[in-house]
């Protein structure tokens, strides 16, 4: 029982970060209808900015503290996101959507290879920005491990979600964002500066990726130039499961991905060997495959994701 409760906790703490990253995916998609493949790599940049910021801070005697480092990362990533949008996506605004998808892939490759080139391909230790103490009472009595850092990550994710919802729902900018997402042309006619909204969306989304990068690095203790691929893909899937373009949906999708993958990995039921391979119904070897299987099943039952609006075709 404790084992499964523990796995649920593991899943939720992984899901929290995935959800955070998925938020950025879903926002950019909602406004631009663009799958921003570079999102995961912006996350990587965020993690490295945190490493260097921590180093500089330590050098100048500034306390290396999570609430100080994280905004630096987020700000840098926001600027990077805006720059990427300006260079790679804006010129293709009126081109077929596949064209900007390809530049997104190009940007992703660019960030990865510059990282491998200039930072070295190896894995870098990530500074401990938060205490990694566990709640001892639970650990001693039940063997159930809950970490302070996980709780902080969880809380930050929820906080950021609420903040984001507030921006989207209650500010002028959020209103403009929703308008552009519904119909960019009509929004422009109503006097919304579409370009500015898109820039702002990219800044917000990329800042979230930066935050995700810092948390990912902190949770797993390391960063490398290709680290963005796995969380990027998972977050992308999470965003789709939740109904891409939908903010709470991305959140729920992230938690579903985290928990499902963890639970799937936790129960492995070997049923023998056939053709030289271990036949397990589920299990850690197949955890990534099962994540995608869940995705496909969800899509078959709800073709626009869990919370996605089903848009009837208009003629």
């Amino acid at each position: 029982m404790i084992f499964w409760l523990q796995q649920l906790t593991n899943g939720l703490s992984l899901g929290a970060i995935i959800a955070l990253i998925a938020l950025g995916y879903t926002m950019v998609y909602g406004v631009l209808k663009l799958i921003n493949f570079a999102h995961g790599d912006i996350l990587m940049v965020g993690a490295f900015v945190a490493i260097y910021a921590a180093m500089w801070a330590a050098h100048y005697g500034i306390p290396v503290w999570f609430p100080l480092i994280m905004p630096v990362s987020m700000a840098f990533c926001a600027a990077l996101g805006v720059a990427i949008e300006f260079v790679a996506y804006r010129p293709l605004r009126n081109a077929p959507r596949l064209a900007s998808l390809i530049t997104a892939i190009g940007v992703s490759l660019f960030l990865e290879s510059v990282g491998q080139w200039k930072l070295g391909a190896g894995r870098h230790a990530f500074p401990a920005l938060l205490s990694d103490h566990r709640i001892e009472a639970l650990a001693e009595r039940y063997g159930f491990y809950v970490y302070v850092s996980d709780l902080v990550i969880f809380a930050s994710t929820l906080l950021l979600l609420v903040a984001l919802q507030a921006i989207v729902k209650f500010t002028r900018f959020g209103k403009a964002m929703r308008a552009v997402s519904q119909d960019p042309e009509a929004a422009r006619l109503m006097g919304v500066d579409v370009n500015r909204v898109i820039t702002g969306t990219f800044a917000l989304g990329s800042a979230l990726a930066g935050a995700g990068g810092v948390m990912w690095g902190m949770k797993f203790g390391a960063a490398d130039p290709l680290m963005g691929m796995d969380p990027g893909l998972k977050a992308f899937v999470a965003a789709v499961v939740g109904g891409i373009g939908n903010v709470p949906g991305a959140m729920v999708g992230g938690f579903i991905m985290g928990v499902a993958e963890t639970l799937v990995a936790a129960c492995s039921i070997p049923i023998g060997r056939m053709w030289g391979s271990d036949l397990v119904i589920v299990g850690s070897n197949y955890r990534q495959a099962l994540g995608f299987l869940i995705l496909i099943l969800v899509l078959l039952l709800r073709p626009s994701g869990l919370f996605g609006r089903h848009e009837p075709e208009k003629v």
């Binding site: 077929p96 596949l98 390809i102 940007v107 660019f110 290879s113 391979s277 995705l295």
Partner: protein, 359 residues
């Protein structure tokens, strides 16, 4: 008096086309290796094989407007099937062993090789069909993610299948894919793609891409057409994968990953989605690029200037997309009609220029 078609006019076209295509296959198969310096041959061969796979993808991605990021998996299924036949059944029938110089020394062996390629294509088509039935009701990006998921599932399954090599992959596949084989395969693929594009199914695909509801109201069974497009496209990709496996001599689960699928999408998009000519040219360009970039070691100053080739590759990719308006327009094809038209246009332009000079 009954209408009697002139046999020369009817069959002459066929004969001419057959002769022209055989000539093209021969040119690729025997001409290119004679003309081109050796170190361009290997990259070009890869480019031509990629062209086969990209042409397969072009059917769903370009013509039918269905976005698939899972074609590396279909190619991989074809590769593993054909490669498996050549490494497991072939040795028993023809005594192909590991380390043996691979040659198709008997007609029976050649037939077996062709059959295994076809089998790879069929199995891939079957998978395309099975994947297509449930997923093709999804739209746009959702379909893309579903196909991506399928590809990743295949990769994980292969990673965990020890009898197919696990993560080590399948090795010792005889390297039968020589230039003549590529030439024949590419020309046959081109014929299939061209004929489909200009016949009823192809028109259905395009109608579907342009407006699904309108297509449906015209009596097109959209789901069936989509599934057919997917199966056909997967089948061609599977044949391409078989060719690739017999060129490289190895195939690994990594080769099925979505990153690889994206490379094929790149070729189709860069070629101006839907255009057969553009897809072939883009596939050859992108396919040759990594091989040609190896030559950089010969010019140290250039190497130093460039620094890291993957950075250059990614920048090239972005720039190519940004100036895409200079590239191919979707739907443009290299054809006799286009050549005639542009020759006429050129003549007109020349005569117009002469016009004012004469007064």
């Amino acid at each position: 008096m009954a209408y009697r078609p002139d046999p020369v006019r009817v069959y002459g076209h066929w004969l001419l086309a057959a002769a022209g295509l055989s000539l093209a296959a021969a040119a690729i198969g025997y001409g290119i290796p004679k003309v081109l310096p050796t170190f361009h041959l290997d990259p070009l061969a890869l480019g031509l094989i990629y062209a086969v796979i990209a042409l397969g993808l072009n059917i769903v991605n370009g013509q039918a407007g269905l976005f698939s990021i899972g074609h590396a998996a279909f190619a991989g299924i074809g590769a593993y099937t054909a490669g498996g036949l050549s490494t497991m059944v072939g040795p028993r029938l023809f005594g192909w062993g590991p380390g043996m110089p691979a040659q198709l020394d008997s007609p029976a062996a050649a037939v077996f090789f062709m059959a295994s390629l076809l089998a790879g294509g069929l199995v891939a088509a079957l998978f395309g069909y099975l994947v297509g039935i449930p997923t093709l009701r999804l739209r746009g990006d959702y379909l893309a993610i579903a196909t991506l998921g399928f590809g990743e599932i295949m990769r994980v399954v292969l990673d965990n299948t020890a009898s197919l090599g696990g993560p080590l992959g399948m090795h010792g596949i005889p390297r039968f894919t020589t230039y003549p084989v590529i030439g024949v395969a590419l020309v046959l693929t081109l014929i299939v793609c061209r004929n489909i594009a200009t016949s009823v199914p192809g028109r259905c695909f395009v109608a579907l891409r342009e407006d699904e509801i309108a297509a449906e109201s015209l009596g097109i069974a959209t789901t069936r057409v989509k599934v057919n497009a997917m199966a056909l496209s997967a089948g061609i990709a599977g044949i391409g994968g078989g060719l690739l496996a017999h060129r490289l001599g190895s195939y690994m689960p990594v080769d099925l990953s979505w990153v690889r699928s994206v490379e094929f999408v790149l070729m189709v998009v860069l070629g101006g989605s839907g255009s057969i000519t553009g897809t072939v040219i883009a596939a050859i360009t992108l396919g040759m690029l990594p091989g040609e970039m190896l030559q950089l070691t010969k010019w140290p100053w250039l190497q130093k200037l460039i620094g890291n080739k993957m950075v250059v590759y990614s920048v090239l990719l972005i720039v190519m997309m940004l100036v895409r308006s200079l590239w191919f327009k979707g739907g443009w094809e290299l054809s006799f009609q286009w050549m005639r038209d542009s020759a006429a246009r050129l003549r007109r332009r020349l005569s117009r220029r002469e016009g004012p000079a004469n007064g």
